[in-house]
């Protein structure tokens, strides 16, 4: 039996890596003594696979993993879900789970885009400059920026991967960022940048907010990056990977295309 789990990664823990998160989950599964399926061979590992890697330092409300249980193990998902978060570190919480059929495409194959919210900041911001830059970015036929792939810098056109991009404003830091351990509290708003929200393609290669910010110019830098959703899309429709869950239909920030 395979189960797909959605989880969040918020606060200080976001400074851990994708590999660190994998180890947190392995320890949590062992703590709960869940009957996992193990790989064969000299060094058996539990069969857990994670979706798109989240860059170290970025937060997320929508991370996913698929876990396979040992043959014959019967898992009650309603009973399992509330037990997961207490076995996980503070800042990592399981927010949804669903059984998946054998042969379901992996997260890596299935997820086509992510919705992100983040701030782009400039050292010398003049009023309206950000919005102008965003508008010209969306009009550009191509946006060639340097990206790091396997440790090497390559030039790549990121424009096709920017499915939507909109300016949220520059005043307030959304209140849910000010929870314990989250970004700088006491900051009344962005004084040096603006909030953006973007749908970025995960296929054929995963585009990240970092790439968008780089396309805004060499002086721009990113801050407060958070993944809001991951989506599986087909034929114009899209749904989130734990869509079978009742609360998944009203997943946060399910915007349509803004550009």
């Amino acid at each position: 039996m395979k189960v797909r789990i959605r989880f969040s990664k918020l606060g200080k823990i976001r400074w851990t890596s994708h590999r660190d998160v994998a180890r947190m989950w392995e320890r949590a599964f062992r703590r709960l003594q869940l009957p996992l399926a193990y790989s064969e061979g000299f060094s058996p590992r539990p069969k857990v696979s994670f979706g798109l890697a989240l860059p170290t330092g970025h937060e997320s409300q929508a991370e996913y993993l698929d876990v396979e249980f040992a043959p014959g193990a019967e898992i009650d998902i309603e009973e399992l879900l509330p037990r997961l978060s207490p076995a996980l570190p503070q800042g990592v919480d399981a927010t949804g789970a669903v059984a998946i059929e054998p042969g379901t495409p992996s997260l890596q194959e299935a997820v086509t885009l992510s919705t992100w919210r983040f701030a782009a900041v400039w050292p010398d911001r003049s009023p309206g400059r950000g919005a102008t830059l965003v508008a010209s970015l969306l009009e550009a036929p191509e946006l060639v920026v340097p990206r790091f792939r396997k440790g090497e810098e390559v030039l790549e056109d990121v424009r096709p991967g920017i499915l939507s991009l909109r300016v949220l404003g520059d005043e307030e830091i959304p209140s849910d960022y000010l929870s314990e351990g989250a970004v700088a509290p006491g900051n009344g708003g962005l004084t040096d940048g603006l909030w953006l929200e973007a749908d970025l393609a995960a296929q054929p290669r995963s585009l990240r907010p970092t790439d968008v910010v780089r396309a805004l110019g060499p002086e721009a830098s990113e801050r407060y990056v958070r993944r809001l959703n991951q989506w599986i899309s087909r034929d114009g429709a899209r749904w989130e990977p734990v869509a079978a869950l009742p609360d998944a239909t009203d997943a946060p920030q399910a915007f349509g295309r803004a550009s």
Binding site: K12, M24, A184
Partner: protein, 652 residues
């Protein structure tokens, strides 16, 4: 306490491995101190990955936080990139729990396990915004305390550390907290710093360097004299008599990012009586105090369930010597609660077939490498250092390892040992070659990795009088072995940089005058000296020259019996006569048996303090000589019957 997190967080995007600086470990506490509570900041002056697993620091962390009148947080040396960011942003060193400034604590308590981190201690104190020299600190500054094995010669750090703690910390940490509590309650007024240090100096096991006058005659140390009548002339180490009374850490910290020894660690005994003459840990931690087997099993099963780890290390200086180790290991791997997925590892494997048998039981998977430490290449040399492994022991162990599926073994050796001849050095190549030949009988790709360390004589050991081998001498020996093994495809030779061995020698047996050298090395940017990319011997040799100190005199000179050692006023209980006799015996190749299986030869560690070994079995373990060079089937060197050791008793 005031948190620096909002200012620190923007820096994290610019440094390697930011998870080093967030805390968030499982088992970490979030203490909320009252205004009267004593605030300890426990520091490990090396990277987070190396410092986090340190068990001594974790034990004290729990003991202090269990008290109603004190709290403890932790900090580690920031890596060079983070240090640069902190200095640029004018931010201080911070704690990992609340991200409070280090100087907001009452005491900065360092764990010193290696001499090459001394400059990191200075750097951490400086990053905390506290003057590095103890004499320049004011009442508002925290006290700087240090414990750990390096404090058995505290003198090189005497200018920088307000108080040293010698020996086991479990009990004395409470006594220190009480003294600090009064200091804090008194308002830390002008002049109170000297008073609190004077009070600490009379706590047994605490050494306050500023309470002692040091006199020299030319280069020679003449006397170390207490300045006041209530200050002890000799500071005796602290020893906990019953490890079973201290089942700590109860909640081992589980880091969120990769560290060394990233698994459950359970200490199964403290102390070692094998009597290897080069080994400082074995000399200063006597006697042997075993943890009761039932408690070991309980700590393992509770620890695994709580942490979610699937691997446990049973730690000690020689874990295969634990009474009934095979049954304990068997109990763990067959514990149904552990689901059959738990692996056990034993550090410091003894060299014999019995031990390999245990190793094969616990490493059912991943048979990549097995490590043995014969330490020297010939039986003659091993008699000198009292590491009594016979060739039969070694070859039996090696044969057993290769025959049970290991393809590679690792062999640890020291070079530059007292009386070492070229034949002794070349014996290393021959031993390694024979091991590979044995391995080839079982597996065509059998190989051996030979790891060579340059020997550094350590204080409080029989070799404290020895003149350390020079850089050129060590390089020559390494070169001989490299040439000798060049054509042996099965042997890979690795060695430590002899220049780092020299720097370690300067710091290990130095007196107070070496403090100025350590400060110069630090000021020249010499932090993380055990990291090859940050080490440069010229910083050390330049500083020695600048202060008119001779490397030859401090490092390479053989001392005579009458010389006053800089650490003579610090005692691990060992009689000076015993250490000298061992030094003479070494040079005449007389061996000293393991006192656990043979009658007491009165080294002083037990008799001085009214202690006994605390062990669970009077019967020597089965199988070969157990690396003792003795026939243990006859009850060791004493011959016949059970060995006279005491069963789990307290002080007499």
């Amino acid at each position: 306490m005031e948190t620096l997190w909002p200012q620190l967080e923007p820096l994290l995007a610019r440094v390697q491995k930011p998870a080093r600086y967030i805390g968030c470990e499982d088992g970490a506490l979030s203490p909320n101190p009252g205004p009267r509570d004593v605030r300890w900041l426990l520091l490990y002056p090396d990277t987070y990955e190396i410092g986090l697993p340190n068990q001594g620091l974790q034990i004290l962390y729990e003991l202090i936080n269990e008290r109603p009148d004190a709290i403890a947080e932790r900090s580690y040396a920031p890596w060079v990139d983070m240090e640069a960011e902190l200095r640029r942003a004018r931010l201080p060193l911070f704690s990992l729990e609340s991200h409070s400034p280090a100087a907001a604590f009452d005491v900065l308590a360092f764990n010193l396990s290696a001499e090459l981190v001394f400059t990191n201690l200075l750097n951490c104190v400086d990053l905390a915004g506290v003057p590095v020299r103890a004499e320049q600190r004011r009442p508002e500054h925290p006290l700087v305390i240090a414990g750990g094995h390096c404090t058995y010669n505290p003198e090189p750090l005497a200018d920088f550390v307000d108080a040293f703690v010698i020996g086991d910390g479990e009990e004395v940490v409470a006594e220190i907290t009480e003294v600090l509590h009064e200091w804090k309650a008194s308002g830390r007024s002008e002049g109170s710093r000297a008073a609190v240090l004077r009070r600490l100096a009379s706590v047994p096991g605490v050494y306050v360097p500023s309470m002692y006058e040091v006199t020299y005659d030319g280069p020679r140390l003449v006397a170390v004299t207490p300045r006041y009548p209530d200050v002890p002339a000799v500071v005796e180490k602290r020893t906990i008599t019953d490890l079973g009374a201290w089942p700590y850490p109860k909640h081992q910290l589980v880091p969120m990012t990769e560290v060394v020894h990233d698994r459950l660690n359970v200490e199964i005994f403290r102390g070692c009586t094998r009597g290897c003459r080069f080994c400082q840990a074995g000399m200063i931690t006597r006697p042997v105090r075993e943890r009761p087997a039932a408690q070991v099993r309980q700590m393992v099963s509770d620890g695994l369930a709580r942490t979610g780890y699937d691997e446990v290390t049973l730690t000690s200086l020689s874990s295969a010597d634990y009474s009934g180790i095979d049954q304990v290991v068997d109990g763990i791997i067959n514990d149904p609660a552990c689901g059959g997925q738990v692996s056990v590892s034993l550090p410091s494997l003894r060299v014999d077939a019995f031990t390999v048998g245990i190793a094969s039981q616990i490493q059912k998977v991943r048979r990549t490498g097995l490590t043995f430490a014969p330490e020297a290449g010939t039986w003659r040399m091993r008699q000198v250092i009292n590491k009594l492994i016979t060739e039969e022991d070694l070859y039996g162990a090696v044969d057993s390892a290769y025959s049970q599926g290991w393809r590679r073994i690792k062999l640890y050796f020291l070079t530059g040992l007292p009386t070492e001849t070229d034949a002794d050095t070349m014996g290393i190549a021959e031993l390694a070659r024979n091991c590979v030949a044995i391995g080839r009988r079982h597996n065509k790709s059998a190989s051996a990795t030979v790891s060579l360390g340059g020997f550094v004589p350590k204080p409080q050991t029989p070799f404290q009088w020895f003149g350390q081998e020079t850089v050129a001498g060590l390089a020559r020996r390494i070169g001989m072995l490299r040439d000798a093994t060049r054509r042996d495809k099965g042997i890979q030779l690795r060695w430590h940089d002899p220049k780092a061995t020299l720097a370690e020698g300067i710091a290990s047996r130095g007196d107070r005058r070496i403090g100025a050298v350590i400060e110069d090395v630090w000021r020249a940017g010499g932090t993380f000296q055990e990291w090859t990319e940050h080490f440069d011997l010229t910083r050390w040799s330049d500083a020695m020259a600048r202060h008119g100190l001779s490397i030859d005199w401090y490092v390479h000179r053989e001392r005579d019996r009458d010389e006053l050692m800089p650490w003579a006023h610090i005692s691990a209980g060992l009689h000076a006569d015993f250490l000298w006799q061992e030094w003479e015996d070494a040079r005449s190749m007389h061996v000293t048996p393991d006192c656990r299986w043979t009658p007491c030869y009165d080294c002083g560690a037990c008799t001085e303090y009214g202690l006994e070994h605390v062990v669970a079995s009077t019967v020597p373990p089965a199988g070969g000589s157990q690396g003792t060079g003795q026939d243990l089937s006859r009850g060791g060197a004493g011959g016949g019957g059970p060995v006279p050791v005491l069963l789990r008793t307290g002080p007499r």
